[in-house]
């Protein structure tokens, strides 16, 4: 039932008014119309209207596309926009489901589209004084897809990665020998805790200013667990101000367990792991206050940070504390590098848990990460070679969403 509009309106192009009307609010332009209707000829219609079920979704949606009217950005250039109209009957009546500005050649209709009902569509080209409908397209049905083909490449990469990780985790479980390179910032952790003990001063641990669903926060809490244990062994006090209540709860749990593991549960003070506020700069103001008043010997800023990174690190530096930072926020790394003694850069943050605990399972996953890196570098190189040899098919496998099946 593919009907395509291909009507010529050449004879109607008598007047050539150099009018140009902005793609602004259609409503406003309609008001203009009410006030002083300018004399006008109807614009050329939109052509080649095609509607199809929106791919890779759970139904309730139809995607339309058309060729712009000859008077849109060309011809008289007086089109102000298009109205998409829909009906269950090819003869109408049609109801408007969407209005778009000029220069738009496609929309997705999601307004109460019933699955498996046949719809007819029409696109109406509007200018200030008149409108021209396109030919009707239909019927078309919206449906449910059971697999998102556009994400097939994501699924494959995910599966490859998971397989690599699991393989090396299993190898590690079997007792394979695993090496891990030095990470200076983590080597310094114990020294930093020791220093605080010597000086009889506390340690400050800021687990970032994000929520628990941020993986960087989780990585930080894993490091906190190692730090808490060392701290307990050294009989030092640890202060953990929090930005998020759920993170605080987990931090309390983690620190308590650390003291328990070190055999000193009585030394744990729940009020040292506390909530401050979930507002960025008020939080920073409070942590700055803690740094200058409690004068911790060591400051650890590990997790997700934003612009406040440098405020924290510079205030900490002014108190003479040893500072170790770690974040995957690329924009903040330069400031931590400048103001802290050691900085865990990006992926090092995620490797920390394995590094500190040396748990074989975690070390295994690190090896999996490295293999995935090699896989990606390999992909880049293959892509580079094929692309420069004039074949872009390999690169298109990395399109998001994947379009090769469409």
């Amino acid at each position: 039932m593919l009907t395509r509009a291909s009507v010529s309106f050449a004879g109607r192009r008598l007047l050539h008014l150099s009018m140009c009307v902005l793609a602004g609010s259609l409503v406003l332009c309609c008001q203009a119309l009410c006030q002083s209707p300018p004399s006008d000829t109807p614009p050329f219609p939109a052509t080649n209207l095609v509607a199809k079920d929106t791919p890779d979704d759970d139904g309730g949606s139809i995607t339309l596309s058309w060729t712009l009217s000859a008077d849109d950005s060309g011809g008289k250039n007086d089109v102000i926009g298009y109205e998409v109209r829909r009906s269950k009957d090819p003869n109408g009546p049609f109801e408007t489901v969407k209005s778009v500005s000029k220069g738009t050649s496609g929309v997705t209709d999601e307004s109460k589209v019933e699955n498996d009902a046949g719809y007819y569509y029409q696109v109406v080209t509007k200018d200030v004084g008149s409108e021209t409908p396109s030919t009707v397209f239909g019927p078309i049905q919206a449906g449910v897809q059971w697999f998102n083909l556009g994400r097939l490449n994501t699924l494959i990469v995910t599966l490859i990665y998971i397989t690599l990780l699991l393989y090396f985790i299993v190898q590690a479980k079997k007792g394979a020998k695993l090496f891990i390179r030095r990470i200076a910032g983590l080597d310094a952790l114990e020294e930093a805790v020791g220093r605080a003990t010597e000086m009889g001063k506390p340690i400050l641990y800021v687990p970032g200013i994000s929520t628990i669903s941020d993986v960087a926060t989780i990585a930080s809490l894993n490091i906190l667990s190692g730090v808490a244990r060392t701290v307990a062994e050294y009989d030092t006090r640890i202060i953990v101000p929090n930005y998020d209540p759920i993170v605080m709860t987990v931090a309390q749990e983690v620190v308590r367990e650390g003291f328990l593991a070190a055999g000193k549960p009585e030394a744990y003070n729940e009020q040292d792991v506390f909530y401050v506020t979930s507002s960025q700069f008020p939080f920073v103001a409070a942590v700055d206050g803690i740094m200058v008043r409690e004068r911790p010997a060591t400051n650890l800023f590990i997790g997700m940070f934003f612009a406040e990174s440098l405020i924290l690190a510079e205030t900490g530096a002014s108190t003479g504390a040893i500072q170790i930072a770690g974040t995957d926020a690329v924009a903040q790394l330069p400031f931590f590098i400048a103001a802290c003694d050691y900085t865990l850069i990006g992926e090092e943050l995620y490797a920390a848990s394995a590094y500190l605990s040396r748990a074989p399972l975690l070390l295994g996953s690190l090896k999996g990460q490295d293999w995935m890196k090699m896989f990606l570098i390999g992909c880049i190189l293959i892509g580079l070679i094929t692309l420069n040899a004039g074949y872009d098919g390999f690169k298109s496998l990395f399109d998001i969403p994947l379009t090769i099946f469409r």
Binding site: N153, F179, R181, S213, T277, A285, L376, G383, I400
Partner: protein, 218 residues
């Protein structure tokens, strides 16, 4: 400027100067401002949470309003939230883990495909460049440098092998790229930060200073 506006301008100016006094050293003005803003911000967040979180997401779906049917499913997160509140109980605080586990699971499960798409696939694709299809020879060279730098930086993050030999050399090139990139970001940010300071000074001079002057002298 009305008298009330002038009053608030003075409050804001006083607090602004209190914060700046911290640059000299910690003092009573800073402490007041700091403690005040912690209280105010939590109170504000509480209100926002209530009216823009609990109200539309929990109270409204559970009460009959408008055409939407009652969404009893919302009782599940409500119950989980209550379990989380058991944190304060010594005996039942372990129940809060159910909630934490759920939130963590949702977070991790959502993060995996999203991260793989945005950080792995997209970036890998962006690295595949046609070196010869460039506006100039120099542009081609630059594209190649970006590519080499990306790979070298990635090599720096190899953990399971000692950084010696070729691997070590490449990793060192990666460090060079990282440091130049960080230096550039640092230098680039200065202007934005100075603008913030200019903005505050403008407030002090124009809104507060001149505002007060005009209020008194007309």
């Amino acid at each position: 400027m009305t008298g009330m506006e002038l009053f608030w301008a003075w409050v804001a100016a006083y607090l602004t100067l209190s914060i700046y006094s911290f640059l000299y050293k910690d003092n009573v003005f800073y402490k007041i401002a700091e403690h005040l803003v912690v209280g105010v911000s939590v109170g504000y967040i509480f209100t926002i949470n209530w009216f823009q979180g609990l109200h539309p997401y929990l109270f409204e779906p559970l009460s009959k309003s408008g055409e939407e049917p009652i969404n009893l499913l919302r009782l599940i997160p409500f119950a989980l939230g209550l379990l989380f509140l058991l944190r304060i109980s010594r005996k039942y605080n372990w129940l809060s883990r159910f909630t934490i586990a759920l939130v963590m699971g949702i977070g991790c499960g959502t993060a995996i495909p999203y991260t793989i798409e945005a950080r792995l696939i997209e970036q890998t694709k962006a690295s595949m460049i046609n070196l010869f299809d460039q506006p100039s020879l120099w542009a081609g060279v630059c594209s190649f440098i970006i590519l080499a730098g990306t790979i070298a930086t990635l090599v720096f993050f190899f953990f399971s092998k000692e950084h010696k030999g070729v691997l070590g050399g490449t990793a060192r090139v990666g460090v060079v790229f990282i440091m130049v990139g960080f230096g550039a970001s640092f230098g680039y940010t200065v202007m934005a930060r100075v603008s913030l300071l200019i903005g505050r000074l403008n407030f002090l001079i124009n809104d507060w200073g001149k505002g007060t002057y005009h209020f008194i002298f007309g």
